[in-house]
Amino acid sequence: MTERAIALTPPEARAASPSLLRKYDRVYIGSSFCQNLLPEAEDLRRLRAAGARAVTLATPLLTGEGLARAAALVRAALRDERRLEVSVNDLGLLELLRRRYAGRVIPLLGRPVSRDFARMAPAFLRGFFRHYGIKMLETDEENIGGILPAAGLRLAFHYPYCCLAFTRLCPQPGAARDACRRPCGPGTELLGPAGEKLTLRGNAYFIGNKPPRLAAVRRLVYTPPAGRASKIVP
């Protein structure tokens, strides 16, 4: 059976109602794109207390400072949880989790780095996943079935947004590269000169996508419209 999850930033998670959280098998908290959206350990506790059945910590590429915060967060979360699922983009974090918490942290290979990994040789991928104990590859590519046909990996598919680019020069008003503490503004639709459409959410640019019908997809991860967690309609 396909697991259903919802992905929330920390401010969205704080605003989410228990009834919303209980609709899903799992709640992602954090961000795959911005290290300023790493949650606090308290956010994970609050999600559990509010009825989230399972929690995944989403983490992006990390600077040295971001890695230190992520490591401290995992350490703190493991005081409360016997096991923790972490979506990882940064290879420094992946290595750290293997060395310190093998067996207690269950890593997923996060998007956006999964785009590169999905194109690597299947034999390499299988060995890499085995070595790091990676449970799933996360993707938002609709045509993933054609890209990753033979690796035999389980997939988590994120929808309804497919990331095309992300930046540390955040377009959100008042955002700072190194110390942003503002909640992201609402999503913005961008229209290019040739009619091309992008959706700006936080520090990333997206196009729309739909989940493919693939047996390898074991989890669907829904991302609500930015800044509207309290009014989410799945």
Partner: protein
């Protein structure tokens, strides 16, 4: 700082040799290396000839093999093996599967980790070090302050930086899938409309970039790197500007003095860039 420049022809090699480049890198048409439309050599033989010419002049030649998907993995590793045996001094790699294959096949060649690999912290660099990485092209999205732990890493891995005041992607370049033609027509530089208002993807100012170049130099970054633009005259200008800035750094100016003088240099080059753009 050493000056490294990407080339795609013998004509460019001759030009940059006489202009004072210390190192070169190049690609092969058959192996994707990120920049769409970048000039490449068409055969391994040509690359080996160019490497021999560089070596005879006391310079080094590297080979860029970025973005090697599964279907090209084995042939790319074989090409790198031949190029290493023929005298190419190193290979620039982004792809982890290729690094893994080079290690497993015991192909002895120094590896430069591409800026596209998005290696943002020392722990990630430690990860890549196990794959034989000896040099790192610093990710463009890091500030100099954040790059300190990479530059001053405990393993003696050297670092390179692009002249970001001229060549810097607005998004994480290794994971950007917007339309991109190496500075000629990029989706990230277009003006978009957002609810009736103009929107441009944010960028760092030249003044900030140049201040950071001074910071990188003070940190100990060894190499200033000029990318392969699809436009040869543009590469020449960026190289000449880089050389002027490297000379300023060598003169030991303070950060404020360097930025002031570098901005003056930039204004001179701005006029030259504008002339070149008009011819494209």
């Amino acid at each position: 700082m050493r000056l490294q420049v990407g080339i795609g022809s013998f004509r460019e090699l001759d030009y940059f040799l006489s202009a004072g480049a210390d190192e070169f890198y190049c690609g092969l048409n058959a192996i994707p290396s990120h920049v769409e439309g970048a000039r490449n050599f068409s055969s391994e033989e040509d690359i080996l000839k160019a490497a021999a010419q560089a070596r005879a002049a006391g310079r080094r030649m590297f080979f860029a093999a970025n973005e090697v998907h599964a279907g090209l993995l084995a042939s790319t590793a074989a090409a790198i093996k031949r190029l290493a045996a023929g005298g190419v001094d190193g290979v620039i790699v982004k792809d982890l599967a290729l690094l893994d294959l080079l290690r497993r096949r015991r192909i002895k060649i120094p590896v430069i980790l591409s800026t596209l690999a998005c290696c943002l912290n020392a722990a990630a660099l430690g990860f890549y070090r196990r794959y034989g990485v000896e040099r790192l092209a610093l990710p463009e999205q890091l500030t100099a302050a954040e790059a300190g732990e990479l530059v001053r890493n405990p393993w003696g891995i050297e670092t390179e930086v692009f002249l970001k005041s001229r060549e810097c992607c607005l998004n994480f370049n290794g994971l950007c899938f917007l339309d991109c033609r190496g500075g000629l027509s990029n989706a990230c530089r277009k003006e978009y409309r957002a609810g009736g208002k103009a929107f441009r993807m944010p960028a760092v100012t030249p003044e900030e970039h140049l201040g950071e170049l001074h910071d990188y130099w003070r940190l100990g970054v060894q190499t200033l790197k000029v990318g392969r633009s699809p436009c040869e005259p543009m590469s020449k200008l960026i190289f000449r500007e880089s050389a002027a800035l490297a000379a300023l750094l060598k003169a030991g100016a303070s950060r404020a003095d360097f930025v002031r003088e570098a901005l003056r240099v930039r204004r001179v080059f701005d006029r030259a860039y504008a002339l070149v753009r008009r011819t494209l």
